[in-house]
Amino acid sequence: MIGKGKIIITYAIFLSCVCFSFTSFGQRTQIRGFMDVLTGFQDDKVSFTLGEQDLFITSELSDRFSFLGESVFKFTPGTPTTFSVSIERAIVKYNFMGNHNLLIGKHHTPINYWNDTYHHGRVLFPTIYRPLLFEADIIPLHTTGVSLQGQNLGNLKFGYDVMVGNGLGSDDVLDNDKRKSITAAVHIKPAEGLRIGFSWYNDEMAAGSRTHDGKLITWNVQQNLFSPSIAYFGNKIEVLAESTLATNHTDTTGSKQTFAGYIYAGLKIKERLVPYIRFDRLHFQEGEILFDKNNTTSIVGGIRYNINYLTVVKLEYQHEQTELDKNINKLTFQIAVGF
């Protein structure tokens, strides 16, 4: 009985602490979500598609500490329920001075504007789908590690990110080798709506490790990614142009270069109505071994209507030409919401 009593008292103290914490910080905890549904016409048939459901939590833990978490529920064939949950971000941030922060956890690799700004928030995307640069696994979308971040420094609103993380072939709990990935990114915001950035990513992938999509790598690969980026979202015009030059080096093949990039342009004909186009290009050098060599060109034309800031509908046509597969022509309608 004494044991049970102790357990009850312990539980009571624990619950009191939890309740106290909730009342102390609960008002600064925000839970938000995003999801989208699509209808597509391709290969003479119409399909309805459930997009991702994204749960996004931010919480101010104290004057200096805060937390950001993002989990995604998505269709995953081959699993018992055909759906899976993934942790996309889990970051504890410590603001150590002014606009300078130390972050630890699973991040969106701060490699370019799109990856850092939108990622899973489909209601924020300027187009329905991500650029091919992301779909082709050329850049590491996530990195688990530690980073230093500064933002809005000086008149040019200079920002930086320096990150060390588990490298390519690793997972979120264990690095597969001694080498760490390094990301260094800088940007400036010299005018309203304008952001110009550049990043460098360096890593070495050990022989025997697997890429994000499961491909076995049988050589040591040294990788460098150089990514310039320019984004302008003004009152009338939107332009977003980003590219990555990837150099993969092995002792056997030497250095092979891959170029991937896209340019997006939108024109606000009314505040809520934006017709847009996007051009994507993937180009792989002969002998590339880390990426799947499949030179691709794509053009997208569409129209976006913001019903309000949490509800956006888009209608988009895409024509894609690839080296290995047949051409794709598809028409897609999407409704994306935030809640």
């Binding site: 600064r28 002014g98 972050l103 933002q151």
Partner: protein
């Protein structure tokens, strides 16, 4: 045919000019409203330029010069004060302000402001939180709250 018009049509037609004037008056009020910047007595400076105020209200400053954390309180964009804040300070629509903050909070770059329902609620938050700054439409006499001169003026 004229005699068959519905009663609601007659009422609407009769009072249409009045409704129009009221609507126009409301819109004018939202845009021309005098605003007042208030801050907690701890951390927040007593005067700043309008460009600095905009920068703070866009989440570009995490700490005041004494190290106190900046927290932002603005009125809901559906209220006249909120609409005026969006128009006069951000020069954006209410929807654009909310979208801006959604994007910024989602990227993890800043903590979103608290959007308040009433001026009293906003003043209460500002008075209780060191480093808090807010925008209202009147002089505040709450304890722990001070007025901030914007370009040497308040209201502005």
């Amino acid at each position: 045919m004229k005699g068959h018009r519905a009663p609601w049509f007659t009422v609407c037609r009769k009072y249409f000019p009045v409704l129009l004037l009221l609507g126009a008056g409301f819109m004018t009020r939202a845009q021309d409203m005098q605003l007042t910047a208030i801050g907690n007595v701890t951390g927040v400076p007593s005067a700043m330029k309008s460009s600095e105020l905009l920068s703070v209200l866009k989440g570009e400053k995490q700490r005041w010069s004494d190290g106190t954390k900046v927290t932002i309180y603005i009125m809901k964009t559906t209220t006249p004060v909120g609409q005026s804040t969006c128009k006069k300070i951000y020069n954006w629509s209410g929807d654009k302000v909310k979208r801006y903050w959604l994007e910024l909070a989602f990227s993890g770059k800043a903590d979103a402001p608290t959007f308040c329902n009433t001026v009293e609620e906003l003043e209460s938050y500002v008075s209780q939180n060191p480093g808090a700054i807010g925008i209202v439409d009147r002089n505040s006499t709450s304890n722990g709250v001070k007025m901030i001169l914007i370009d040497g003026k308040n209201p502005f």
